[in-house]
Symmetry: C2
DNA sequence: CTGTTAGCGCATTCAG
DNA sequence: CTGAATGCGCTAACAG
């Protein structure tokens, strides 16, 4: 690592001013094609790379964005991340990937760090923050898009999958199959999508003119082990239970494991429905009936919305032509609940 | 977005010089605890957040790192990413996640972008770059750690899973079970780990005093569809084939699908072995015999190695106490090849 | 213990 | 078409 070549080195070597170099760097007019070519050649020869950080200091735009997710290794978020990163890259941005590991303190910390890094915007997935904290975060950042969470106040973009509708469809499917005692392993109580899914679960009962026992709903960590334990508890407390709706497919896999441990057949003894349609859902035994949300598309659109917020012309900054994107999920019927 | 609070605003408001503010910001000595507290209070009151980018311009350290992977949504890399991000966060760094989407041009492009962003170091996973390009990349960046790839020249850190050994163990397992015609869906020919696994595959035959037909080895995209098609071609060209070793578990899933389509039973008619032990491996039918590499640990150690390279004292910069980390994989025997 | 001077690498504004 | 001066927000190296 010898010292870096700067714009001054290029200017000196090319016998021009730094301004001329700057102009060719940014493809601005006002440079004869002769000098432009010459400067280009010198840039190549010296292997010069402009410093985005020096540039950012003056332009106030860093060309970097933040993407905050609870856990990248969760297939749901890794797909969202892939979609988001793809769009960002196409527009010349880089993105900081931040894992909160389901921890609100850590979420606050990464958001602070992103602020100090002066990112141009943030896509915040499944924020577990309280309303007031979230508002403060939104206020600090130049542009924010929330994924799978809504916020009344503030100029936020929102992109989400209609979780309520998905959960309702899943529950309705079970109800129509004749199930009346349906457990719900509902994921983290602090999660917005969990709350939405609970709503949908209830709505399905209401719409069918049936009632449910609130005890059938139980929160759990959104992972296999959480699903395993909750299913165990639920089946123990309610032996009459014939169906389980799960917060996500990982939780459903845990439920499947518990059923296997207990010698219960799926779907004959207990029907199981998951959420998300992650890759393994179709490949396990029995194949999982689940709710599929367009995850990659969600990431794509969230990022696109963020970029559109960043790049609005100042005079149309108040328009907010489309500030909320809602993607519809669909029920995928497989063997675990037919 | 009103104008940002700067260090000058804080200094003015607190009736001190910017240097004093800078000192309390960086916890440097030389400030009375009285003024320190006072300045702290003003910082809080104004909601001041130091600009990491202005700071980086003078200190030459941005506190950012790059993590380049072929595909985040591949469970292998999403686990590596999680491990790497965890360590980086713990040390106060942020990481740019970059997907190459298996494309070398794009890999070059993101590396260039990372350079312009002046990252302090890069973890580069499964680089598909030619040796000369890779050397150029390594030369430009202050610190580089390669994952699953080696490079003779240059001061690079290396962290890898011993793919050759893993592939040999898998092949040996099949050989010992009596298989003699073993297909190998070997993944991308440009991938280093593919080459290593081919080596291991061969080594197992050699060690057993047996021979193989080079036609049994066929490259393919490292995804389900690639595995599906390659298995089809292999089973078509070599009907006597009784076992399939696959580049990774996704490829193995594709192979499983092909077997099902063809009415072949696994493992009775065809034994299948995968690689990586991704979450679904244990959960599909039949459960996949596979090679497990410590993915999260790989990400962790790679990032740790990178940070140790970044933070060496200048006078011990040549020592390179531990520049290569090799993690051992293990054979996980399940039903698909027992 | 505290402040002053300088400059990191670049783009913006204004003159040539 | 080109260049000189200026400053972005911060810290390093000195002074006091």
């Amino acid at each position: 690592m010898t010292k870096r070549v700067t714009i001054n080195d290029v200017a000196r070597e090319a016998n021009v001013s730094t301004m001329t170099v700057s102009r060719v760097l940014n493809d601005k007019e006002g440079v004869s094609s002769a000098t432009r070519q010459h400067v280009q050649a010198v840039i190549e020869r010296l292997g010069y790379r402009p410093s985005n950080i020096a540039r950012g200091l003056v332009t106030k735009r860093t060309g970097t964005l933040g993407l905050v997710v609870p856990d990248v290794s969760n297939p749901f978020f890794s797909e969202v991340a892939r979609g988001a990163e793809h769009v960002a890259y196409a527009e010349g941005y880089n993105v900081f990937l931040c894992n909160t590991e389901e921890d609100t303190e850590r979420e606050l910390a990464v958001l602070k760090s992103l602020d100090e890094k002066r990112v141009d915007g943030v896509v915040l997935c499944s924020s577990r923050l309280e309303e007031s904290d979230l508002e403060a975060v939104v206020a600090r950042h130049p542009a924010v898009v929330l994924v799978n969470r809504r916020l009344e106040s503030g100029n936020v973009g929102v992109a989400m999958i209609n979780d309520e509708r998905g959960a309702q469809a899943a529950t309705q499917h079970l109800l129509q199959a004749g199930h009346r005692v349906i457990g719900f392993s509902a994921g983290p109580s602090t999660s917005h999508s969990s709350r939405q899914r609970v709503k949908g679960y209830r709505a399905a009962f209401t719409a069918a003119g049936l009632s449910y026992d609130p005890g059938w709903i139980r929160h759990c960590p959104p992972i296999v082990e959480g699903g395993r334990q909750t299913a165990q508890a639920l089946l123990n407390d309610y032996p009459e239970l014939t169906a389980l709706f799960c917060y996500n497919d990982l939780v459903a896999v845990g439920a499947l494991q518990t059923c296997a441990d207990l010698g219960l057949r799926v779907p004959e003894d207990v029907a199981v429905v998951g959420c998300d349609d992650i890759p393994l859902a179709a490949l396990i035994t029995p194949p999982l009936t689940t709710i599929r949300g367009p995850r990659y598309e969600l990431g794509r659109q969230a990022m696109q919305l963020l970029l559109s917020k960043i790049n609005v012309c100042p005079d149309e900054t108040d328009q907010n032509p489309c500030t909320e994107i809602v993607l519809q999920p669909e029920l995928v019927v497989r063997a675990s609940a037919s």
